[in-house]
Symmetry: C2
Subunit: 690 residues, 2 copies
């Protein structure tokens, strides 16, 4: 990727003298951003623009070229790309639209492009993108006119949409935050977000990355790349596709929509997810500050009301507010005019007009050992104390830049003043105490994640060869596994099942029940019946042979002769464990409080498989039912350890066998601590290996 | 209140020639805002300012005066107020700080002020406030320099904090939204938010009200005033006081913190609650648009990425996206240049550069019968198509102003452009598709509330006289009611209890159990033991006399000789019903899924009492456990009707008897539909009437 951003020469293909020609804007941007390399313009009609000759073809350029940008009708792209290849150009940005986004018939041209990339060993960004920017060397090839605002910064932006990306550049400029590198990646035919992240996470001009994506190309690679880095990554994944979701056949599918899986995956690898642009801006500001190492927050505010709002937010986001030491309070009190100020934390400076003292307070407070971060709220109207206020904000920004602790500056002032300040300081300025406190909380909470997103060591006693044998016979189309088949698979991975057996007659049912010991349960064995209890397909607590016979007859009438007899398990806590294969991230595991609560509360938690004991523990902690596990109000403590182990094993099973498309264990009956668990009901859909 | 805002003459008390004197800013503001009445300046040192003589006292003013503003040291306030009274001034704004906010010793001056208000029949806003503004007549008396931006509008602002209020004025100006009236109310010694709301809801220059409050003075009056009005009210209630909350003795108290009660009360009377300034701005923009009457949203976007984000948001906030008719699509297709645009809804205009067609599309779409509202997203960089874009936005604002359906305009452009547009159009402009869609959802969802917040007709068979008799003997200090006493109270209000009796000996326990029929339960009768099962204070399912004797002996050892014997109720669904007295809103009722789930999930819903059947139904629907009531997966449908009736009766009980401070019915055992319910455990704290 470095060869894209550090290109020493660029050919802009698609320039003409037509006034609506967009290639001309690329040339203009390269000049506006003061590109340090050589610029060559290319267009079949020739001519000149901004003093640069327009070559008819890249083959006519007399010097070697590092990078070409192409903005011409899609049909003409393959030929130009071939010429680039011949010219020895190995990096191309294809901005033209009109590929697969317009329909499947355009795939043919895409295939030609892919073949050429292969032939010439070229890398390509796009198509259907607006190009890249490197503020550090002035390489700026978007095809809309841009302005190079402020000095280059350490923020990188990757955007699938050109429009969203361009507007984010404006937002950064408006917030006074410095852009360093930018890439619009469009259809991601060759280079995708993981390629770029891989590069930007190593790039020492980049400290912080924002991505806007409408689809994720290589989910697991993205997770691995992101987890390995210490740099904050903020991601807005749109195109959640809620309205068009397919009706799900299993709990696992209905409890893990694409966007729930995306959210789980991003949390699992430490990427911060956002849902709108101002949330993105808030995060970029949050992570531009040094890391907050604890919960102890000091607040200084010129307005009492904003101090109250800050205190609410501190409480909401889990900060403590240590009191100010006597020394600080005395210092303020001696300067106070009408003595009508409040000197606890948040400190309300009220009628204190000595802005020099404000600076002093900020420095004193940041130096305190019992404070992890400072929120400084200032307000002014501009007419009255504009000059000293702007000076104060500039000084605070300087104090903040030097500090190892975060200083969040929050300013209330008319918009024109705000813009003036932002342009002057190039330091984050917040405009609401709650926004600032939430940003500090995001800052504090980042980094609470693993550097490896997935488990690496599998439990030793898994028997994949037995599973492989079972799955060897399944059909290409997805089918429901028979209870017996799935039971063998689960047993091979060490999942404890309730004692059970399939029976084919009344007599066999009674004999089996006698073998298990009464009471027993009887269920229909029809794998296609999803919610057995809804159609009278489950009989529990059958106390004797007569009851078993009666149940068998009813079940045979409902679901056919295949009936399951199970031992009634001891009472316990019912849990749900499931999983499925996700198109973007592979195997996922899902868990939550079981039984009917799965459906009513739908409070499950998700992880991308495989996971280890530690991650399974976090997964359980995320479930709202987790509080029940430790035993409340006279209930015993339940066997959380065994639940953890089952989760780990299920995660490996789904990871090892993508043929298992969806799996529900519901309920898993959990016994008191040390007494294990057993699965009472199991269902899975499988299809032959893809 | 009208005499404050429509004052024909104002005396500004506290003006001097000192350069730091703040009274001078009031005079300057009255001139800046072109006050239509007479201005008199008052200050003991005399002199003149801005051409106005400074009178030594209000008594020296030769003409009558409608309104006085006072900004002088607190100690001098009573004498000046007396002079105002003698002068015949009946409306006063007291801006001075230094009253109760600095400590209890300042209450003495407050009492003097209150006495003077009484003697002279004066109304007073403040103290500790910045004053009021009426843009329609130029009355503007805050003591910081302000600018009168844009034309007067129909938004009124009430703010307890001067700083927050002033900054909200800036926000309105920045958003191009028109302020009409403003009041900073400070300590609310005399005039409070309900007084002002009462006036503003009747005021025909006001269409929309925002309040910032740190405390609510008259909660029930506020609810009644708000519910009666069709005007949107947006409220930010800060000072949630989470950190300092007292440890609660009952479930009801722990499940209904002050801020949860505030949220419930506001929902109940149709006030929209917000938690930060930009959320307030979003709501003000949302409610500046005409009401959205349905879910059918059309989206037109110049950028494909923003169209995708808008589609996600439409899904998230429950909108449908009807397709565009062929006529519209044809109209667009014939103008499209590179034919690379998407013509479903959201419509991505892509490379369509004819902004005149944009206007036409907006009008065509708003006119459609199958569309309830339109989101129009435009983006431009300013350099390229600034002029036509600004024209487009002005035209869209005009189309939106004429339309009876909401047109949400969302613009992406550099900040300077945005400000220019906002100043030009005075129409809401959103800056993120999700913000705009959420605003439309807020707009659509408003008005789904009752005009009377409380029930007015009590169930006919309540017997308050029996309750009064029981409560006649309680002590002033809060005490736990005995089970017997509380049982009589509940029975008087028609609440069904499980058959139960207090017993004092083993023999009596056995005799009682035999009378009820086995199995029975036995519990400690010690009212001070809160969680009986934690300390072995509950025995369930006692099958025979021997078991009852053994249980009695154990319970007597734990909690003393008072033991309760109860019939074991049939199995059913356990529910929680409780309530307490709230300092701001009076009686509240709380409900949710019962048993151990109360503590684990803490998913309860709250209403201010009394409520009727309909409101009790809404209350149940708010509970996450509500799905269980209708019966899932083989469970019966439970008796929701009886639950509703118990909620109504409990709400009247707590409303009628504020002496009952906290009440827990947990669990209420619910039987299948038509079979009723019974309360298995009941507890309450009471104190004698205040």
């Amino acid at each position: 990727m470095e060869r894209f951003f550090q290109a020493q020469s660029v050919a802009v293909v698609g320039v003409s003298n037509s006034p609506t020609n967009m290639g001309r804007f690329m040339a203009a941007n390269l000049l506006e951003f003061r590109y340090e390399g050589s610029i060559y313009l290319v267009g079949p009609k020739g001519g000149a623009f901004l003093g640069h000759k327009i070559y008819p073809s890249v083959l006519d350029i007399p010097e070697p070229v590092d990078l070409a940008t192409i903005l011409i009708p899609a049909a003409a792209v393959p030929e130009v790309l071939r010429q680039c290849g011949e010219k020895g150009i190995r990096r191309v940005i294809l901005q033209s639209a009109g590929f697969r986004e317009l329909g499947e018939d355009r795939r043919k041209i895409e295939q030609e492009v892919l073949d050429l990339l292969n032939v010439y060993q070229m890398r390509l960004i796009g198509p259907n993108c607006i190009g890249i920017i490197n503020r550090h060397n002035g390489l700026a090839v978007p095809f809309m006119p841009l302005q190079a605002e402020g000095p280059p910064g350490r923020i990188a932006v990757i955007s699938q949409s050109g429009g969203v990306g361009a507007m984010l550049i404006d937002t950064l400029a408006g917030e006074g935050l410095g852009l360093g590198k930018f890439a619009s990646i469009g259809n991601k035919l060759n280079v995708n977000e993981a390629d770029l992240l891989d590069y930007l996470l190593e790039d020492n001009q980049t400290a912080l990355i924002f991505c806007y994506l409408e689809g994720i190309a290589q989910g697991r690679r993205l997770m691995e790349v992101a987890a390995g880095s210490g740099k904050p990554i903020i991601l807005h994944k749109s195109n959640r596709g809620g309205a068009g979701a397919i009706i799900a056949r299993s709990h696992s599918a209905s409890l893990s929509s694409d966007h729930q899986v995306v959210s789980a995956a991003l949390r699992q690898c430490g990427i911060v997810q956002v849902f709108e642009q101002r949330e993105a801006a808030e995060c970029l500001k949050a992570f531009s500050l040094p890391g907050m190492q604890g919960n102890r927050l000091a607040v200084i505010s010129r307005s009492g009301g904003h101090a109250v709002i800050a205190a609410d937010a501190a409480d909401e986001f889990g900060f403590t507010l240590p009191p100010y030491p006597a020394q600080t309070i005395d210092r303020v009190r001696e300067q106070s005019r009408a003595k009508v100020i409040q000197l606890h934390n948040p400190m309300d400076l009220g009628d204190l007009f000595d802005l020099q003292l404000y600076r002093e307070l900020a420095e004193m407070t940041l130096a305190r050992e019992d404070i992890d971060g400072l929120l400084f709220i200032h307000n002014y109207q501009g007419i009255f104390d504009g000059e000293p206020s702007r000076k104060l904000i500039a000084d605070l920004a300087q104090i903040g830049s030097r500090s190892e602790k975060p200083l969040a500056i929050c300013v209330f002032t008319p918009e024109a003043q705000l813009i003036q300040n932002r342009r002057a300081v190039h330091f984050p300025i917040f405009t609401d105490p709650r926004e600032a406190v939430r940003a500090l909380a995001r800052n504090r909470d980042r980094g609470k994640f693993r550097t490896l997103p997935f488990a690496t060591r599998r439990p030793e006693d898994l028997k994949p060869e037995l599973v492989r044998a079972e799955l060897g016979q399944i059909t290409p189309a997805p089918t429901q596994l028979s209870p017996l088949q799935l039971a063998r698979i689960l047993t091979a991975y060490g999942i404890p099942l309730v004692p059970w057996a399939p029976v084919q007659s009344e007599d066999e049912a009674v004999a089996t029940a006698q073998r298990f010991g009464f009471p027993v349960a009887a269920k229909t064995g029809d794998p296609l019946i999803l919610h057995k209890s809804d159609i009278g397909g489950v009989f529990l607590n059958l106390p004797d042979a007569a009851a078993v016979r009666q149940a068998y007859r009813k079940l045979a009438a409902v679901g056919g002769p295949a009936v399951l007899v199970e031992k009634m398990a001891e009472p316990g806590l019912e849990w749900f464990i499931g999983g499925r294969q996700d198109n973007q991230f592979g195997a996922v595991v899902i868990t939550g409080l079981g039984g009917i609560y799965v459906e009513i509360f739908r409070e499950t938690a998700i992880r991308i498989a495989p996971i280890d004991d530690e991650e399974a523990g976090h997964l359980l902690d995320e479930c709202r039912g987790a509080g029940l596990l430790s035993g409340v109000r006279g209930q015993p403590e339940w066997d959380r350890d065994v639940l953890t182990k089952v989760l780990v094993r299920i995660s490996w099973l789904l990871h090892d066998f993508p043929q298992i498309r969806e799996l529900d264990l519901n309920p898993v009956r959990l016994f008191p601590a040390g007494e294990g668990c057993c699965v009472l009901d199991w269902r899975a859909t499988a299809e032959s290996a893809l």
